[in-house]
Amino acid sequence: MAKIKKSPWLLHYDGSSCNGCDIEVLACLTPIYDAERFGVMNTGDPMQADIFLITGGINTQNAEVVKQLYNQMPRPKVVVAVGVCACTGGVFKDCYNILGGADTVIPVDIYVPGCAARPQSIIDGIVQAVELFQKRSDEHDKEMKNKGREAS
């Protein structure tokens, strides 16, 4: 099995976040935290992304966008909800336009709590996501192999 966990590319989407978590996400890439040590690249392109990093709650307008981005990402993929708003809806939970956390529209794998989430915990979340990404990839490979066997 190839070690594909060495190359996790992120797609960062800002739901209805207050930008606090987004700034912390970007802080992960700065010299102090340098997430690129793990091969992390912040790509703006869902076609090329492996890990979907979502900040902020889901509202009625961005629900479709989040679904669309998730569907555009090729398998294997992992979703990380960063910050309490993306986890549950946070302080905006009872707003008329907020549906809740990211898991109201797409399956979320890793929850990173905090308001705003600290860079340390975001990186911890990414490291866990990377392990899951490797596991999913191995499962994906097995599935493909079995399919190939059935076909032949």
Binding site: A2, I4, S7, N42, G44, Q48
Partner: protein, 291 residues
């Protein structure tokens, strides 16, 4: 094709992606150190490509894979012809054809970002093509031949007659290698106005193929830089490798110390440098040296 030439060609086809990938790894490491970061492992580009091959393939249009494959084959052909010692003019014509297929591969996706990226790719070709063609002419005037194997066997290094052409070529190398400030058609960094530009709709193995083609291209372009230096003296090969590494480092330095410019400044500056550096050099060669 004799025995020795075929060894060169086989070596290029086998080792160019390894050297290109390693150079990119060094590039990312040095860039990170310049920004006071630790940076990714040296072999990161290979990890990326291996991962891309293992991802699910979502093709926007089926023709994209074929067009990218053509881009790849033509790029390998360019380098193979160059290292086989054939006509340098022909190498650059095949290279331009390859670049055209990359344009088509991006534009068939009909994504607005990829389309804007591919339009900019065409403008980039417009910006670097004069310098590339003049470089070929320069080699002819200096050495009396377009053939790479004869240029390599000459008594003196071509750069002795072609310093202006060298400057112009290194200048447009920044465009060719997709480095800032001329990385208008695609960006290696996130959150920019055209997402990933020309590669926006390429995912999984298509992007991997694009990446490997870029490695082949890097090695070919570095070969051309080396051609300025290499002569019949074996020591010149060592000097050529040193010059290639120095030029590569210079590109990394420029990449990290400049912001992206608009396309009109890119065309203007590259044409000005071409006219003043290569053009003056050309006149000197023709009028003073009477070649």
């Amino acid at each position: 094709m004799d025995y020795k030439t075929s060894i060169f060609v086989v070596c290029y086809i086998l080792f160019a992606p390894l050297i290109g990938g390693l150079l990119q790894g060094i590039d990312r490491k040095i860039s990170a150190r310049m920004q006071r970061r630790v940076g990714p492992p040296l072999l990161q580009p290979f990890y990326d490509v291996i991962k891309l091959f293992k991802k699910q393939v979502i093709a926007v249009t089926p023709s994209q894979g074929f067009l990218l494959l053509t881009y790849f084959v033509l790029m390998v052909l360019t380098g193979a012809m160059f290292f086989a010692g054939s006509d340098i003019l022909l190498c650059f014509f095949v290279l331009s054809t390859a670049a055209t297929f990359l344009y088509f591969a991006a534009v068939v996706s009909s994504s607005p970002y990829a389309t804007v990226g591919s339009m900019r790719e065409l403008i980039q070709m417009l910006a670097y093509e004069p310098a590339v063609l003049l470089t070929c002419v320069g080699f002819y005037l200096a050495e009396g031949t377009f053939n790479v194997d004869e240029i390599v066997r000459s008594d003196t290094s071509a750069i002795r007659y072609l310093p202006g052409f060298f400057v112009a070529f290194v200048f447009i190398l920044t465009i060719k290698m997709r480095k800032s400030p001329f990385d208008t058609s695609t960006s290696h960094h996130m959150h920019q106005e055209i997402v990933k530009g020309i590669t926006t709709e390429m995912g999984a193995q298509n992007l991997a193929l694009f990446q490997i083609t870029e490695w082949y291209e890097t090695v070919f372009l570095m070969g051309v830089v080396g051609l300025f230096v290499i002569n019949s003296n074996p020591i010149s090969i060592v000097v050529a490798i040193a010059v290639v590494l120095a030029v590569y480092f210079l590109e990394i330095l420029i990449d990290n110390s400049s912001a992206r410019v608009k396309w009109n400044l890119m065309v203007k500056s590259s044409w000005l440098v071409t006219i003043f550096a290569a053009g003056v050099n050309l006149l000197v060669l023709m009028l003073v040296y009477k070649r």
